[in-house]
Symmetry: C2
Subunit: 239 residues, 2 copies
DNA sequence: ACAAAAGTGTTCTACCTACACCCATGC
DNA sequence: GCATGGGTGTAGGTAGAACACTTTTGT
């Protein structure tokens, strides 16, 4: 590899006359509160557009790649490590940010809504909104949220990422409610459960969750090892 | 909107201490030559990695957004306008380009291989390669091609983008060969044709193509208006 | 005893897959 | 007349969709 000095020399030699730009990372953070999908938004504390709602973001630093920058931003707001996260799209309209030529790479993230650090969220004047009544966002952030929603819908059909939004132990009903929220439609509980059982990637526990009924509902865990080994053998998750 | 002067003032005020980076656009250009998928590569004429094969690319200019930059790069190499094109992913590893900190946004493009400007290609020392025997590429360009291929496969199943790779008039056999190339497997011709006919988005012409058989094969055109109006009514293209 | 959520199977339909023969023509 | 690619239909299997009643238990 090259040292910084060498790089500067090479850069001067080869790419000297090219334009440089500011690059931001913006994160769409999804959570699920047993009934609906929510996103975490911050009230902007600086100009431009101070006081308006926006996605949480930050600028890419010289020594980071984009994934690292997104992880930093997510950690800064939620206090969480090991967040499920995926790059979405790069927004580049010349006038998207009135203050300067800034491009933004969007990421979406899935977190267990009960696990975030409430103090940090307060400190950053952030707040959870259900997707239906989220406020209007600055710049092109509304479009980012829409694209994230579309991607999440597609991904959830072909990868078992839903579990990232649930607690470790969950009931079948919670899982179904989650998929209903993601897909935006009611599902038949018998079909849903037998589909999921046919995958054989859940562990049924002896415990029951008594919080939502008198009878109680069995709790399940996602068996990630089993899922991975089934994938090795050609298994294809498909809701 | 703001004038450039205002922008500079705002930028100094708000984003002054952030790092700026070079941003490139790299294009995976797909073509189809009746038998297999090909990509258009250029022999790099400048350092670093001069003389090696790479995707065609260029740096984003201050006054462009990314789509415009990609269109410029594509036009520069092929002479074509109105190319089908989609943004794929942004690559950002700190050391991906040894010369300087450069990020690259990849785009893939689909063109009718017979329509490109052969002079321009020669002038840019570019060449078509079938995917199987394409040379090793510089930086992370191999990964870009792989991601493009994955995306193309998925897209081709749910959107009728295959026609972008074919001449305006084509035979059913050509269409089938194209889908076989994209999906990497043989298809049954009866099933393929009856599936496509059930969509009812092709126009069967009275002309025949006599180049590949004595009997001749009917030529078809994609009926884009009909496709669009069917989509309006809820039709879902799904191979 | 009743309210409220949990749990459980079957039938019908639609789509996908596999499969084989005749046709038209140039040589 | 034969070799070459073009064109066409059907039957069986599989996966998805629709659908209703019994169980448990706290109040």
């Amino acid at each position: 590899m090259h040292t910084t000095d060498q790089k500067e020399i090479l850069s001067l030699a080869y790419y000297d006359h090219e334009d440089k730009v500011l690059l931001a990372v913006d994160c769409i953070i999804f959570g699920f509160d047993q009934e609906e999908l929510k996103i975490l938004l911050v009230k902007r504390g600086f100009e431009p557009e101070k006081g308006k709602w926006s996605l949480i973001g930050g600028f890419l630093k010289k020594e980071e790649d984009l994934d690292i920058a997104a992880i930093r931003v997510l950690h800064h707001l939620t206090g969480l490590h090991d967040i499920y996260m995926e790059q979405l799209y790069t927004y580049s309209k010349v006038d998207r940010d009135p203050a300067d030529r800034t491009l933004s790479v969007s990421y979406y993230a899935l977190i267990d809504i009960r696990k975030h650090d409430k103090e940090l969220i307060k400190k950053n004047s952030a707040q959870w909104f259900s997707l239906k009544d989220a406020p209007n966002l600055i710049f092109d952030h509304n479009a980012m949220v829409e694209r994230a929603m579309t991607r999440l819908r597609r991904r959830a059909l072909s990868k078992p990422i839903g579990f990232e939004l649930l607690p470790e132990k969950f009931t079948m009903r919670q899982l179904q409610k989650l998929y209903e929220a993601i897909m935006g439609k009611k599902l038949d509980k018998r079909n849903f459960i037998s589909k999921f059982n046919s995958f054989d990637i859940l562990i049924k526990l002896d415990e029951k969750d008594m919080s939502s009924s008198k009878k109680g509902a069995y709790l399940y865990k996602f068996n990630e090892e089993k899922y991975n080994s089934k994938v090795e053998e050609g298994f294809n998750f498909k809701i």
